[in-house]
């Protein structure tokens, strides 16, 4: 997970490296650790290390990790020739390695040679039927070919074997949201919250899905999950604050006219706009009038 401090460090290092302040290797390590997708920068700075024999030999064994990282970044930037050279260097160093063969498969994918990539992955799977990364690559391939329903099918099959893989659950949830199958997406997010209950983005995404589905019960649950996001982030998540405002309005509209016998935490609907206003006043005072007029239109504040 990417913490606030880590993200700040990454941005600081990035601007330092961009301005020629050194620390390229530390930056690349941090990108790898945080699993950030900054392929263009990785390609630029990684290549400048690889092109410099002195820098490269200083890395020792880590050199090969860098080759792999640069190869993937190059594929992401569609620099097929760079990727090819990196993979060639790796396969010369580690002949017959599974990790390198995976990279070769990804290279085929990047070129758009789907049939060949499929063949390569099937071949690899015959030798290691339990290789999770290759299974995931096949899902990604189906997605890349514009066939999300096949990806869903494959991912479901994968998840029945590897149920604890939360990255796969997250991917499935995102695909379902893309397909507007919110009920299924909500199920995936429930699964994610169950296995990692302290991660606010999952709570937030679950609440978003529930809010999109609508209906009184879903809205009330959505409000609870927005509230839990707020408590997990210490009120620093603007989206969750907006979520509270919107669900409050939607619930009020639905229950209008009906007798409101029990209302949970009535102060919440005043606290969320107050927190939003305070946050905007501090960080973006020029946008404060926009927010105020919007909240007034929603009849949350007077």
């Amino acid at each position: 997970m990417v913490g606030a401090a880590e993200e700040a460090q990454l941005n600081r290092l990035e601007s330092q490296v961009d301005n020629g302040g050194g620390g390229a290797w530390e930056y690349l390590c941090l990108v790898r650790k945080l699993k950030a997708r900054r392929s263009e920068k990785v390609l630029l700075h990684g290549l400048s290390i690889l092109n410099n024999p002195k820098d490269r030999s200083r890395l020792g064994g880590e050199e090969w990790t860098l080759y792999e990282q640069v190869a993937i970044a190059a594929m992401d930037c569609q620099k097929i020739d760079v990727a090819k050279e990196c993979v060639a260097a790796l396969s010369q160093k580690f002949p017959g390695s599974l990790r390198v063969s995976r990279l070769e498969g990804m290279l085929l994918e990047a070129k758009g040679e789907w049939a060949d990539a499929e063949k390569a992955y099937t071949c690899l799977l015959e030798e290691n039927p339990l290789d999770q990364v290759i299974h995931k690559r096949k899902v990604a391939m189906a997605k890349a070919q514009g066939n999300p329903s096949a990806a869903v099918e494959y991912l479901n099959k994968y998840l029945s074997t590897f149920m604890a893989d939360h990255d796969a659950w997250r991917e499935l949830a995102e695909i379902y949201v893309g397909l507007q199958m919110y009920k299924q997406a909500a199920f995936c997010y429930e699964e994610l919250i169950l296995c990692q209950p302290a991660i606010p983005p999952y709570h937030l995404a679950y609440a978003d899905v529930l809010y999109t589905m609508g209906g009184l019960e879903n809205l009330q649950t959505a409000k609870k999950y927005y509230a839990s996001t707020i408590s997990l982030t210490g009120g620093k998540n603007t989206r969750a604050l907006y979520g509270i405002c919107l669900t409050t309005v939607a619930i009020n509209q639905l229950t209008k006219g009906r007798n409101k016998e029990e209302k949970e935490s009535p102060e919440l609907q005043f606290l969320a706009p107050a927190a939003l206003l305070k946050d905007y006043k501090q960080r973006a005072p020029e946008k404060l009038p926009l927010l105020t007029s919007m909240l007034k239109n929603m009849k949350i504040i007077s």
């Binding site: 024999p53 997990l232 982030t233």
Partner: protein, 126 residues
Amino acid sequence: MGVGFVVGVLGGLVLAHAAYATIQYRGMLKIMEEEFSGPPTNVVIELLLGLVLCVVAGLAVPGKFCSIPPDAEENRVVSLPTNLDFMIFNHRAFEKVDDVSQGSSIFVNNENGDRLLKGQGGGGRD
């Protein structure tokens, strides 16, 4: 670090002195042929002082404390990592590839576009 370390050493010395004082006290009791009923007050005070000093040193020397609450600045999750296992490559770069490859800013040592990683073969053999 420095202050904590000195405090720790001091605490250890105080404890050692308490041990020495106890031994001396028991020797004295033997000479006076009295029963041992309990440690003398100065030893008890020394022991308490040593305990406090050692605890302070133990908390101060090893390093700073990490915060536990999930909404603390160090722990607060701001975003999820990119799902790199499911990365796909045919995004906008795929279409842009033709106009980017000429005169691109990405390559540092790429004059004619064919040798991108100089001296890579040598690195492979070492």
